[in-house]
């Protein structure tokens, strides 16, 4: 934001200083020069450099350089810039100055962009905002700028996916916030199209109180992204980052003692489980067993890659050894993220422009996977006349990849084929040649053809292409009719065209079936237009009273279309064209349109520059509800008061501001389908050319109304020790009521749910931000900021007077994780086993934990010393529960290292030796209430003594010793960066104006209670290994 601010004031300062300077002449002068940088080492343009006690002054140019003539009689230079602490330097005999300005945290006059692009001073805000400087995003690069916000903002939870090209999950106060780019809402939720190099700042409006003016889409807060503009003069900047992925943060470790097979037996027959090859389990014989009678010295077995005896046609046994113990590392390659940006900015008194071109290339861990992300942006403003200014920006972004991996559990997942379901007797390096000889194009070569894919076959033949063209931008006209009255007209668009293809070769294994070869095409496109008109009027009424009003209207229109087409089998293998379909093509398409018209207004009252009252209102008309219920109004009121302006506090307290706000926001969008309020038939099966229709299971009340959120928040903003310490605390409470809910109903009513208005949820929590500047000496500075937040969502009222809504009882948290597949346990939690030694299923649903963390926290540190700057940040989440598919399946399939024990050895020898830790019921009885809570229990128990086959135990119960639910808490060393800013004195002889080099790392260390997975992603559906990113960044401008 500060950049924007700088440019905004640059002209004014330049003009005024220039005027005052030119009128004066002095006889005896000396010329001094130098440069001004900020705490991050970046030059600050527009800094006012004044000769103290005179009216001589200049401003720094775009690169922070200045030159000034100082008369002999003056000896002090004063450097000042809004938002920074003023610095005074003795001139003495010096002629060259290198000045660093430190942000002044007590400065509250700085402005931020609020809803609808209105700029307001921080002091006047009655709600919580937090700004992130765009510069924090573009050194240690992430493939997606949202990932870079992790741990930076109180109340913002970001779950980072470990897989290539998977969206991070983003939650602000527990809900998905709106993204706004230069005032234009971008509701397609494509985080990939925003290039971090173009971001000047991100202002996070934390709740509906702040974003009520956006109406329904702003109900859950907003990320206001402001893009960069040009400054004065011409500069070319190059920013280049390369991040290597040299090592794994978390990678599943498998046992390497036992190989493929079942019950300790294995011999390859045909790869389809016929006979003795064990169906695809990893419960096979011990590997690496010495056998002096064989040529190799090890026990030998017929395997998929055995040579064939030319006479008998039988497979010749080969040694059964753990050659594949490094399969994961041998298959995955080191990833890479390379980001390059070049931008040109230029400007003068009349206007400015910025051209930017970027490319982000990411090489995936899986061979033959990658992601390219290219953006071109042009942005600028121009003063068309004294009264009329124009600003516009346009970005073209293209995301393209020929292949990126599929991630959910199943044979499409590389980990599935590589970790879970491959014994280490198979060496992945032997699978590079992936066609069966003579059946190229028809049959992949693998040790199992029914359940698993050869990972190399998959990487090179099963190709998932993705090409997306995004165009977005805006045009804005400001007409300053009088000093008090301004008209603004702004129109923006977000357009995309997506083109996806899946190439599925013959013999490719999908979950449950083997493919006959297919080609899938999916195309979609969206156009999203937003136009606003705003009139602003500001009037000073007397000395202490200012009134500021805005009124306007807006129109928003979204059109989405999609078409999909796929073959039914391929006639010619590897020829991917729909004309090559064996059987008739399948296809479908979709078109949706929606519209919102709005009018809105705001009034700000400002008293003594210390008390601020803001009232806003907006009315929407939406197409997504029945016409008779489609109009609704959103009010909000906020109050901010600087108490320290009226009350004298002890000296250590510099500033105390309290703020409070209330808003009511409604939403008329039932789901992503704008026609959700219409009861209609859906297409059913087509049987041999007879089409069909089915009536959906959700009954829709034709009179549904919009749902509403009442948000209330209260905050305290304080500064201590002359700005060395700042503390900001917010409490919020959101009451979501009259919700558009899908009420579950008895299926015997003919429906599974009905759409109604009802139920009430309350979200509440705290957000704490602490900023400190513990050390600030001439050339050493340490800044630390900490954020901590917590929130819970509770069902406070159900539907129709019921005391529960689905699984959740009134008064309980809504993020409970339930399981329907638990085993019966005693009240003490011990497993109850049946007569056969196996556990008994629990017919009742059980609560396994809460999904959401108790706390989210982040700590960022910045040390700067002369030209060096060291930054590092930790963040994490405390509490919450995660279900680990990886853990469960490793026990099931036999790859978990914990399965290597005597019981397994016994099972291989046909001995039942595993006596599960638990009890058997010897008498008595138990009765339950309707929800499975024990009413009466007279059961008596004895220790279980029944031994079972350990392999059957794991195959049947997925190892019932575990529930596979884990504590999801973790702390990460998210980022370390060390930057060297080349001093201006060294750059003098070059044409460079600015140069820096940084060594950066992200995702470096993890502390957690879960094995084999990175809980950062929030879910484990067999996740990709988590990697460390280490690299460097070079930034030069000339």
């Amino acid at each position: 934001m500060k950049n924007f601010y700088k440019y905004f004031f640059l002209l004014t300062i330049a003009i005024s200083v220039h005027l005052s300077n030119s009128e004066l002449l002095y006889a005896q002068e000396k010329t001094v020069s130098g440069s001004v940088i900020d705490d991050l080492g970046d030059p600050i343009p527009g800094v006012s450099v004044l000769v103290k006690n005179s009216n001589i002054g200049v401003v720094t140019d775009l690169d922070g350089n200045f030159k000034i003539s100082v008369p002999q009689s003056y000896d002090i230079l004063r450097f000042s810039y809004i938002g920074y602490k003023t610095v005074e330097e003795n001139i003495g005999n010096r002629t060259l100055f290198s000045i660093q300005l430190i942000p002044d945290v007590t400065d509250l006059e700085s402005v931020v962009v609020t809803a609808l692009g209105v700029e307001k001073s921080v002091k006047s805000l009655g709600y919580a905002v937090q700004e992130v400087d765009g510069r924090t995003l573009n050194k240690a690069r992430e493939p997606n700028f949202i990932n870079s916000l992790t741990g930076q903002v109180a109340g913002l939870q970001i779950n980072n996916s470990t897989a290539l090209f998977q969206d991070p999950a983003i939650r602000l106060r527990g809900a998905v916030p709106l993204i706004v780019i230069d005032g234009i809402p971008s509701t397609d939720n494509d985080f990939w199209k925003i290039n971090a190099d173009d971001v000047a700042s991100i202002n996070v409006l934390k709740g509906a109180t702040a974003s009520a003016l956006y109406g329904a889409i702003g109900r859950n807060g907003a990320l206001m992204i402001t893009t960069k503009r040009g400054g004065k003069g011409t500069t070319v900047e190059i920013n280049s980052s390369t991040m290597f992925q040299p090592s794994y943060l978390v990678i599943p470790e498998v046992q390497t003692t036992y190989g493929n097979g079942d019950n300790g037996q294995y011999a390859y027959v045909n790869g389809s489980g016929s006979g003795t090859e064990g169906f695809g389990w990893i419960w096979g014989p011990r590997m690496d067993v010495p056998d002096p009678t064989t040529a190799s010295g090890f026990v030998e077995r017929p395997q998929y890659n055995s040579p064939i005896d030319p006479i008998t046609g039988e497979r010749i046994p080969i040694p059964f050894i753990s050659r594949g113990r490094d399969n994961i590392r041998n298959f995955f390659q080191n990833g890479l993220i390379s980001s390059n940006n070049i931008n040109v900015t230029s400007g003068n008194d009349q206007g400015n422009f910025r051209l930017s071109a970027s490319n982000v290339y990411q090489k995936g861990l899986v061979p033959n996977t990658e992601l390219n992300n290219t953006s071109f942006t042009v942005a600028g403003g121009y003063k068309l006349s004294e009264k009329l200014t124009a600003d516009a920006s346009l970005t073209y972004n293209r995301q393209y990849t020929e292949n990126f991996p599929e991630t959910p559990y199943g044979p499409e997942n590389y980990l599935y084929n590589l970790v879970l379901w491959t014994g280490t007797d198979v060496d992945v390096r032997d699978l590079r040649d992936y066609w069966v000889a003579g059946q190229e194009g028809f049959q992949q070569k693998h040790f199992n053809n029914s359940y698993y894919n050869n990972p190399y076959f998959q990487a090179n033949e099963y190709l998932r292409g993705y090409q997306k063209d995004n165009t977005f931008g805006q045009i804005k006209l400001d007409y300053k009719a009088t000093d008090d009255l301004t008209f603004t007209l702004r129109s923006g668009m977000n357009v995309y065209a997506l083109d996806r293809t899946d190439k599925e070769p013959k013999s490719y294994v999908k979950y449950g079936r083997v493919s006959r070869g297919n080609f899938y095409i999916y195309n979609s496109g969206q156009i999203n237009m937003n136009t606003d008109f705003i009139m602003s009027y500001k009037k000073q009424l007397g000395e202490n009273f200012v009134i500021n009003t805005n009124a306007g209207g807006s129109n928003r229109f979204i059109r989405f279309r999609s078409e999909s087409l796929n073959t039914d089998g391929l006639a010619i293998p590897n020829f991917y064209n729909v004309a090559n379909s064996e059987q008739p093509l399948q296809g479908s398409n979709r078109l949706t349109q929606e519209q919102i018209n709005s009018v809105f207004g705001t009034v700000d009252f400002e008293f003594m520059n210390a008390v601020f009252l803001t009232v806003t209102g907006r009315n929407d008309w939406v197409s997504t509800l029945p016409v008779n219920n489609n109009s609704f109004f959103y009010p909000s009121v906020t109050l901010a008061g600087t108490i320290s302006d009226f009350v004298t506090f002890p000296r250590v307290i510099d500033f105390v501001k309290v703020r409070g706000g209330w808003s009511q926001v409604s939403d008329g969008r039932i789901s992503s389908n704008p026609y959700s309020h219409i009861q209609a038939y859906s297409p059913g099966i087509n049987w041999g050319g007879s089409p069909s229709l089915v009536f959906p299971s959700a009954l829709i009340n034709p009179n549904v109304q919009p749902e509403t959120s009442d948000s209330f928040e209260f905050g305290l903003d304080t500064r201590f020790f002359r700005g060395k310490l700042g503390l900001d605390l917010t409490y919020f409470q959101i009451r979501d009521f009259n919700n558009l809910i899908s009420v579950p109903v008895s299926q015997a009513s003919g429906y599974t749910s009905r759409l109604e208005n009802g139920a009430e949820f309350t979200r509440k929590g705290w957000e704490l931000m602490l900023n400190a500047n513990p050390i600030s000496k001439n050339d050493f500075n340490w800044n630390v900021s900490l954020n901590l937040s917590t929130y819970k969502r509770v069902l406070t009222e159900s539907f129709d007077g019921s005391d529960r809504f689905g699984n959740i009882q009134v008064g309980e948290r809504t993020d409970q994780l339930f399981s329907n597949s638990q085993y019966q346990r005693t009240p003490e939690g011990r497993l109850i086993l049946g007569q056969n030694g196996f556990p008994i299923r629990d017919p009742y649903q059980r609560m396994m934990g809460f999904q959401n963390p108790d706390y989210i926290l982040g700590i960022q540190n910045t040390f700067s010393y002369k030209q060096f700057r060291l930054g590092f940040g930790f963040d994490g989440r405390i509490g919450g529960t995660i279900y680990s598919t990886t853990h469960e399946k490793m026990w099931w399939g036999g790859t978990h290292p914990g399965t290597v024990n005597q019981f397994r050895e016994d099972a291989n020898n046909g001995i039942r030796s595993y006596v599960a830790d638990g009890v058997v019921v010897t008498g008595g009885s138990v009765s339950y209430d309707d929800f499975g809570n024990i009413l009466e229990d007279s059961r008596t128990y004895a220790e279980n003594e029944r031994a079972v086959n350990y392999i059957a135990w794991n195959k049947t119960t997925l190892n019932a010793e575990y529930t596979h639910y884990f504590d999801a808490s973790f702390i990460k060393l998210r980022e370390v960066s060390l930057t060297y800013q080349v001093p201006p004195s060294l750059l003098k002889r070059t044409s460079l104006q600015n140069a820096s080099i940084s060594l950066v790392g992200r995702n470096l260390l993890l502390w957690s209670n879960v094995e084999n997975i990175d809980p950062d992603s929030g879910v484990d559906n067999l996740q990709t290994p988590s990697v460390r990113n280490i690299g460097f960044n070079i930034n030069v401008s000339f």
Binding site: S623, A748, S749, G834, D930, N949
Partner: protein
Amino acid sequence: MKLKNILSLLLAFSMLISCQSFEDLQLDPNRPVQAEPSLILTAIEANAFSTVSAGAALASRQLIYTNSATDNQYYGWQRSGFGDYDQLRQVLKLREEADRTQNDSYRALALFFQSYYIIKLSNTFGDIPFTEAIKGQEGNFLPIYDSQESIFLQVLEDLKTANSLLNPESGEILGDIIYNGSQDKWKRLINSFTLRVLMSMSIKEGDSSLNLAGRFAEIINAPTIYPIMRDNQDNGALRFLDLEGNRYPFFNSNELRTAYYMEKSFVDRLKSKNDPRLFTFADQTANGRDLEESNFNAYEGMGGAEPLAENTNQILSGEGSPIERRYHSDPINQPSLLMGYSELAFTIAEAAHRGWVDLNTSQYYEAAIRASMEFNEISEEAIENYLAQEAVQYSTSDGLRKILEEKHTSFFMNSGWEAFYNQRRTGIPTFSLSDQIINPGGIPKRWMYPQNEIQLNLQNMNAALQRQFGGQDDINSLMWLLKP
């Protein structure tokens, strides 16, 4: 800047504003709000006639499963679901559209499908919502449960009505993927199905108020009013096609190919009677692959109640027969039967054996076997040879066992859970049990009501449990149908 320029700029902006009317945006271009009855019928038929169930084959000791000790095979199940009410919703829509178009044929079919799904649900649980079911549209979300007795009696009435509604003037049936619009064939299926329902109540044959024998005879004795199926041509069969979504449900299934093997008692019975259907049900064992396909020694089954590890070991040692490859490798394989002629003939044979009707038991028994063999494409000569055996031929002394064992065989991979329900009703054939069985009560008699009913319709569900089983929801309790 001149006013004119400003105006033209404003004009340019105004073109960016959409001015669609909100009324126009209330029309969904992707979904119709009204349907022809034929379109609804196709979807109902595709579901109702799709009855191939591997789970039923496990519970009926025809197949075993090797990937885990599964609940169907080791009798560990607890709850089932009310998913069939989703189909009953489609049936209601069919009836509404039939009323709208004044078409009695669709009305009759709606009654038949309603009866079919209600019986299916009642067989699973016992008492279920019926008279108040599928009334969500009218605002009833808490349907009471009806007694199984009243359900069965009402269904028998409804099926009669369905039969009487259908005649050449009752209206055209379109979208019919089963009988291509033939009212006559539909009547035959409806009346045959009525006989199945009557026979499913055989435990109640002593209850004179039900008059099972009389009701059965009424249909058999009036073939012009109540025509029934005559041969496999009349089967209520869904024929699979080599088209996406229309293929045999287990086509290309990895699980069926690798984890489903033949059950021992089933294989042993087929072997003991030299039943050639074994060769079309099963593949040779790994060790028997060199033997002729028609050599009974090439086939072995695993005990359904034996420990999982022992069954796997038997297969690993090459002594287990997988299911025949056509079930997973032929996209068309064989049709799925809602009810076939073979079943009807067995049902009539049983009725004759029980003395409900005065017919030649042996004749219907042999016709039933013949139909089952023909359905599985057994040659005429092999059928004759099979029927010529004394062990096969009907005899009054253990006629019931022979009929029901043959009926059990004929249900292999078709007709849903009929193999299990017929055994539940008669105890024939014997299903093996052991200490591996999860349910302490042995073969369960029913399923518990769905978890959702606890949350959403508790009072009515509890009333039904109280009425039937003293309040306990138990898989071993006997529903009305199973109490003599």
